[in-house]
Structures are given as structure tokens and as C-alpha cells.
Symmetry: C2
DNA sequence: CAGATAATCTGACGCCTCGTGAGGTATCAG
DNA sequence: CTGATACCTCACGAGGCGTCAGATTATCTG
């Protein structure tokens, strides 16, 4: 993000920055409402009152615009991951776990459409999306693994558990629940239930402590 | 699946059945290699040596073909879900958990490309894909919830946990790990580690027992 | 097995989006 | 106000979409 460039390599002036921003926002809206597979460059352009050719000045294709959005979203993970630096063992440990889950859910609520595309593209093998995902998830996974390892050394977590695997499993659970919760809620589970239960599973898996 | 029909409602004869099957298989291959967003009906047709018009006799669009594949895959879940009917509390409980995780991973290894599309489409709100997903995941989730509830009644699982939420969280973990494991393995975690760790988290969350 | 009938397939077409390059319009410095 | 630069668009060839009328292939009947 140090210096955004147009597709031909020139740096962007004020007007161009604004156009690019509006294109990004319009892309987000369309991905959200139509789903990634029904986003037409023509429509993104129309929505910001410009032409398709303009879009291609800033992005090679729709994916690249979404990649930028995913990259921006990744920046918001830091404060969430920081919740794993607080002590999970003591009194407020469970409360911190709750805060983590809640923050993660909110993060997804804000970026759902983009996160879905990021995950699909990453899963389908797209390198750029994998890298963005790793940059985001790595912050959480690494800290979780470290915490598990500590508690394992203290004998609270069984030795058969691999800290990194456990961290990956917990992040998987978090991500999917965050992505999924609003599909569950109509079926009689409240968001509060989901947060509480998820937090407890995390808390136990990290600390090995009974709750 | 009782009686498959063409798009115009006529039932299918032998030749048509075969054509449809080959179209489905070709669709699968292309989704797998190109990703869903780069599947061209033209190419599916070419691959089975027929014309695009033929494809449209059996499926309204590529999605519909993938939906059929997802539906077929859902049928393979039953024996996996059945592992949750075995006792998880006794001696072999942990081993059953391992078997479940392993089976789930293998299921995804076989159907990864289709499962990804199913989940994307379901998340994006497509009703048909949601229903297929619920049919598949429901089998697992319901049984898990029942098991958690039992162990909760026996006092081993804390009362603050909602059985259905816990089941959803576990299924989320399972699904995502199954989808994800081959992205983790190059980073120094073995599949065996992933299975073992995931199984232990599941086992504890279901039974509340120390492992 | 011929001829009729039904089932299945395809050629060909109009429509739409893609992505590009040449040229037009806004903006800014002096 | 004028030129220079930054930004944008027009217009177009290429290619996939989805349809329908008609050709081709299978099946049935006597």
C-alpha cells in the first residue's frame, strides 16, 4: 500500500486515487449483493459513472480488486490477534476468549463477501490470495500455537496434541463459525450461544483447563 | 434421484442417461482443474464430444450440474455420520473420533472441488445449495449435538455450553480442516498430526473427558 | 426388416461481456 | 491562457451464452 500504482506502472494522482477508491467500493457492493460470479466490470463502472476501460486502468480483473479489499481487511486483524497476548489462564481468561470470538464474528460481519472470495480463491490455489490469507490468519494461528505450546509445557495440554495443528483447528472453527453463524441463527441458536460455546471450546483447547 | 428428468421435463432413456453422466463427470474435472469461475459450457461439451446445446438439455447452467454432484456426494455422508452412533465414552472412543476425522478428510479429498462450490453458493445465499449442505451436515451435526447433550446431562460437559452450538462448531472445524489440510502440510505439519489433534479436540468437546 | 415414431443431438444465430488501443477531455503549472 | 500531463472513454474484435428449428439416431410395430 506504500504507493499504489496504475496498471501501467504510473503513480496515482489525487483524482485517480479517488476513482480507484470508488471502483473498489462499488466492487465490494456488487460482490456482496450479486456474489462474486455475477460481478460485471461493466456494472462496476456504471455504478461509479465511468467506463469499463477505466476499471482496467487500475485492476487487471475483478479478482484483483477483491484482492486489494482482502488485503485491506487483513490489516484489521492485528488488534484481534492481540487478544491472544493477554493471559488466558487466569481469572479473565474465558472473558478474553469471548472477546476474541466476538471480535472475529464482527470482523466477518464487516467483510463477509470479500472473505468468502479470498477463501475460495486461496483454496483453488491462487497464490496471491493464499498469501493474503496467510498474512491474516498467520497472526492468529502463530499466537494460538505459542499459547498451546506453553500450556503443554506446563503439563495441562496432553503431549499428543501438536500446538500448530491445534491452532489451525481453532482458527478453522473460528473462521467457519464467523462465516456461518447467520445461517444457524434462524434455526433457534442465538449468536450469544454460539459465541459462548465457541469461546469455551477455544479456551479449553488453548489452556487445557476445565471451565 | 428417483427419476432424473431433462430440462423440458421428459424422463431420460438410456442414451440420455449416459450423456448426462458424461457431462457431469466432465464438469467435475473442469471445476477441479480450472476452478468454478473458469468452467465454460463450451469446454464441458467439447470434452464429451458434444455441443453446448446438449448440455442445456440437462442442466440450466454449470451451477446446476455442480448441484447434482454435491447432491450425490451428500449420499456418502451417512456411513461417516454413523461413527457418531458408536460409544465415544469408553475405551475406543478416541479411536472412533480419529476414524471420524480421517473419514471426513478422505471425503473432502474425493469431493473437494464440488464441496468448495457448494459452500460458496450456500454462503452466498443460494437456496438449493443450502438445502444440499444442510442435508449433508445435518446428519453429522444432529448426532454430535445429541451426544454432547447426553454427556452434559451426565455432568461432564459444562452447562454453559449449548449442545447444538458445540456441534456446529465441531462440524465447522472438521469441514474447514478437511478443506484446508493440504495447505498446511507443506508447512511442516503432517496429516497424521492434524488428524490426531483434531480428533482429540472433538473427543473432549463431545464427551467432556480428559484424554 | 421396412417404415413410422419418438428420443436425442447440433448448427447457427443474436445477445452480451471482455479487454484493448487510439484518441479525447480535464487539470495543473507557469 | 497555453501547453503538457494525467485521466478517461469510444469503439471494436473476440469469444462465451443460451435458444430453437431441424437433422440424426434409436426404438417400436407389424
Amino acid at each position: 500500500m506504500s504507493q499504489t500504482l496504475a496498471i501501467d506502472g504510473r503513480p496515482l494522482g489525487r483524482r485517480a486515487q479517488e476513482t480507484r477508491r470508488r471502483l473498489l467500493d462499488a466492487t465490494y457492493e456488487l460482490v456482496q449483493t450479486n456474489g462474486i460470479r455475477d460481478v460485471r466490470v461493466v456494472e462496476v463502472a456504471r455504478r461509479v459513472g465511468s467506463s469499463p476501460a477505466t476499471f482496467y486502468q487500475y485492476f487487471r480483473d475483478v479478482d484483483e480488486a477483491v484482492l486489494v479489499l482482502a488485503d485491506e481487511a487483513a490489516d484489521e486483524i492485528a488488534p484481534i490477534a492481540a487478544l491472544l497476548d493477554e493471559p488466558w489462564n487466569g481469572k479473565g481468561g474465558l472473558e478474553t476468549a469471548r472477546a476474541l470470538v466476538d471480535a472475529y464474528f464482527r470482523f466477518w460481519d464487516d467483510h463477509r463477501a470479500v472473505m468468502r472470495v479470498r477463501n475460495l480463491a486461496a483454496d483453488e490455489g491462487d497464490r496471491r490470495f493464499r498469501d493474503v490469507r496467510n498474512r491474516a490468519l498467520g497472526q492468529v494461528t502463530d499466537r494460538m500455537a505459542r499459547n498451546v505450546a506453553e500450556n503443554q509445557r506446563a503439563g495441562r495440554v496432553p503431549p499428543e496434541i501438536t500446538p500448530y495443528s491445534a491452532a489451525a483447528a481453532m482458527v478453522s472453527m473460528l473462521e467457519r463459525m464467523a462465516s456461518y453463524h447467520f445461517d444457524l441463527e434462524p434455526r433457534g441458536v442465538t449468536r450469544a450461544d454460539l459465541v459462548e460455546t465457541t469461546a469455551r471450546i477455544l479456551h479449553h483447547t488453548v489452556t487445557g483447563r476445565k471451565t
